[in-house]
């Protein structure tokens, strides 16, 4: 493989990883935009999503990479797995908000953030205790069709990942930009107090932000499994940190920013892994995070919500 081929291949890989990070970053950005809270439980909501997708696919009889489906059954199984995963993780997100975070909303300081670290730990350990600490062979029912460009390969799974991500991100953009609840969400991000006085049900908006963010994280978890062919209790931490970096890079609170940031982080990961060394990928990404925070804290596209401190 020449460097050119490698670059092309990593472009494909980077876009797939990037879509996953983008979906995950959207959850950070939706919640941060409104509550100014770094939601650490998001890391493992993503991981749980990956496990839900795993069990649903296995429930349909898809095991490992050997069960190949085509046509309507394939579409049906994938759609069902995606829908169930997103509903379950969305529900977990709403539960965390409603039961644990809402009582703390009036509390100043780091209490809410520390609580989300705790929730993240609980989710993490529930999965270890329930599903075991071994990594799972993630089912993939896609037919092994491969397109080649030069020496770079484009498999069905990449196309699927791109289609899912595009649809979800398009849907979210439409929702935030053009629906009544979306407008309420943007208003709440600007000023919750004023939004409440204008008759917006702020509690409902916040719950919606958690639902959407967590549902997207669930989709991201399923994509992780499809991309890497495995899932494990441990995947939330580094993917979560990278996605958070993506949200900050794009401008936290900014929906298009999270998508752009996600894609950039995916590309950076793919290229630094191929051309520098995988062992240093995390160092590169975290250094980028520190640099962005120090020199351009509003990110590439700027913060959409004002600083409410």
């Amino acid at each position: 493989m020449t460097a050119y081929d490698l670059a092309l291949q990593q472009l494909i890989n980077g876009f797939s990883l990037g879509s996953m990070y983008a979906l995950l970053a959207l959850g950070f950005t939706l919640v941060y935009g409104i509550l100014e809270l770094i939601n650490f439980s998001h890391f493992n909501v993503f991981m749980v999503g990956s496990f839900v997708a795993f069990y649903v696919l296995e429930g349909f009889g898809v095991v490992g990479q050997n069960t190949i489906m085509t046509g309507l059954p394939l579409v049906g199984v994938l759609l069902a797995a995606l829908a169930v995963t997103m509903l379950v993780t969305g529900g977990i997100g709403v539960g965390i908000e409603r039961l644990l975070l809402r009582p703390l909303r009036a509390v100043k300081g780091p209490a809410a953030m520390i609580l989300t670290i705790g929730v993240s730990y609980v989710l993490f350990n529930i999965v270890i205790l329930g599903a075991g600490a071994d990594s799972k062979n993630f089912p993939n029912p896609l037919p092994p069709i491969v397109f080649t460009f030069e020496n770079a390969v484009l498999r069905m799974r990449e196309i699927l990942i791109w289609v899912i991500s595009l649809l979800l991100m398009g849907g979210l953009t439409y929702f935030v930009g053009y629906t009544k609840l979306g407008k309420a969400m943007r208003a709440t991000a600007q000023d919750p107090e004023a939004a409440r006085m204008m008759g917006i049900d702020v509690d409902r908006v916040i719950m919606m932000a958690f639902f959407l963010g967590s549902a997207l994280a669930g989709a991201g978890g399923m994509i992780f499994g499809l991309y890497y062919n495995y899932t494990s209790f441990i995947i939330g931490f580094s993917a979560g940190l990278r996605a958070f970096t993506a949200a900050v890079l794009g401008g936290i609170g900014n929906v298009p920013g999270a998508m752009l940031g996600g894609l950039l982080i995916g590309l950076i990961e793919a290229y630094s892994g191929a051309f520098i060394a995988t062992a240093w990928t995390d160092v590169i990404i975290f250094s980028l995070l520190v640099l962005v925070l120090v020199f351009r804290p509003n990110g590439l596209l700027g913060r959409m919500a004002p600083n409410k401190s």
């Binding site: 780091p110 350990n125 940190l241 900050v248 975290f286 804290p297």
Partner: protein, 685 residues
Amino acid sequence: MYSATKQVLARPFANMQPQSRQALGLLVLAAALLLFPFYHANDADIASMANAAAYVTLALGLNIVVGFAGLLDLGYAAFFAIGVYFYGVLTAYQVMPEWSGYWGPLAAMGLVEKINQGGPDLVHFTLSFWLALPAAALVTAAFGVLFGAPTLRLRGDYLAIVTLGFGEIVPIVFRNADSVTNGAAGLNGVASPTLFGFDFGVDATPYYYVGLFLVALLIYVSIRLRDGRVGRAWMAIREDETAASTMGVDLVKYKLLAFAIGAGFAGMTGVYYVAILQTATPDMFNFNVSAMLLVMVVLGGMGSVWGVVLGAFLLQIMQSWLLPDLNWALHGIGAAVGNDWLQTVDMVKTTQLIFGLILVFMMLFRREGLIPATRKTPPLDMQQQAAQVQRGGFVGMEKIGHWELRSGNALEVKDVTVKFGGLTALNKINIVVPEGGVVAVIGPNGSGKSTLFNVITGLVRADGGSILFQGAELLGLAPHTILEKGVARTFQNIRLFPNLTVLENVLIGQHARLKTGPIGAVLQSPAGKAEEKRARQWAVDIIGLFGNRLTPRLGQTVLGLSYANRRRVEIARALASQPKILLLDEPTAGMNPNETLELAEQIKSLHELGLTILLIEHKLDVVTRLAQNVIVLDHGEKIAEGPADVVRQDEEVLRAYLGRAGRDHVAAMAAKAAEAAAAEGPGHA
């Protein structure tokens, strides 16, 4: 039952002073711990205790950063790792450069030795454990500054994520730098300490005593820092950064100091920890360690030294004793009832689940931790609560002396412009405050009054102009430097340090006038002790100016004070800094007429002592009573200036406050009043 038992047990100690009771308790605890290996000669348990000691010291270090200074550090394990690798690399057989004569002097000092493993002579580092403890503290403190520096400007939650990133980077670097660290396989054969020829070896007892010593040392250091000027500065930053900087706390310096000292604790612990294990891999320092330490601090109580010790100890005991014992019990029950699951269940695996649950439940139900850092003070009785209204100014003013008289202008604001985006908040404003004078700034809401204060005290940058205080330029200086020069202020929307007591709030006002640094605080130098005593007396005297309004409430947190009392504390805090000019931003806002009158007279008495005052005030009777000169701002422009009664009649001022119709109305009323007065004849004003 509990209270009855407590009463019986407490009876012999009932007549002791609380201090001596505490001292006795500590003594008993210390004796129990010192004798532990004798009455419980189980090497595994002593090893668990030695291990627990390491986590107690780590938690104490994290408590300095998170609990005292309020900087949420989620990558604290990185400093622990640096300490471990510092000692590990310099004693194990990892890095062995070729021997040359240059190593001779170091060999003479016992830091290296010449070895031969077949082939050329090599250098083997043999850093002494006892030397490594302080050296590692210094090295990790330097890393604390290095990692802290880029994060200083970040808001609290971003700080958390950046430190989390650093916490990930450090172990990765150790893993990848395998020529120095032996990579993922880890350090091997780290030397055990020796003392006067006695090798510690693998027996747990000597380590236990070293651990005990470290715990005692770091508890002492923590308490000394907490109870002095440094600790107060940290807590001020934790409570309100902006207020802390305007009260003279150098934010950069004190945040870095917290990072450095916290990191130093971790570095020292790292040396101790790796000396016990004699091996270390990069994976031992992942996020789980940082998170566990956070759980310890949260469980015990953020900012509470004894709480953190207890939290760390409890969690360690839970892991090494409680859960294994529980296993044993459950397995026994399982065998008895023939339940397979009970026979094989491993409770130790639930450790991290328990950590997560502790974080969640503590945050929901007991955020202050098991032993809260601030104790609740008993409520005042009715007599203490009854305010004796003070008329005629402050009481006990002889205690605070008077200000030296100077001539000329104290403050000169020249052509100062401040813009926020497209909005011009102040447009070429000129204000002069003469030495010893009282100048009031009035104007409708949004006219730029508070922005004027913010630009003078360095919280807002000016877009042009100059501000001279006693001839020296203030623009471009940091808020704490401006306070050091003698410019103190209060805030319109009171900015006290809510979880600190009245006394502590006022003591922080003196920060810039005191000198004791961290070393002085720890060593308890006579000069430092005398300074602290003077500072407390000065704070009590200042608080005493308000009669019995604040004095009975010295030990209460300001959170529970009435609105008017909080305003008084804020003024006391500013006065404690021995200002040369006092900037009061609506000091009587929210006070009833009696309180307003009381405070106005108190401000007047400060003026009579020679203090220069710049005042923002809405209540015109207060302004008339106090100010020699009144400046009126509107939409960022100075629209009038002069004595109060002149300004009150000014056309522009009336228009700004009342609008055109209002001005006409007032003019008509005035004309009517004048007519009536003329009709009644002279004598009525």
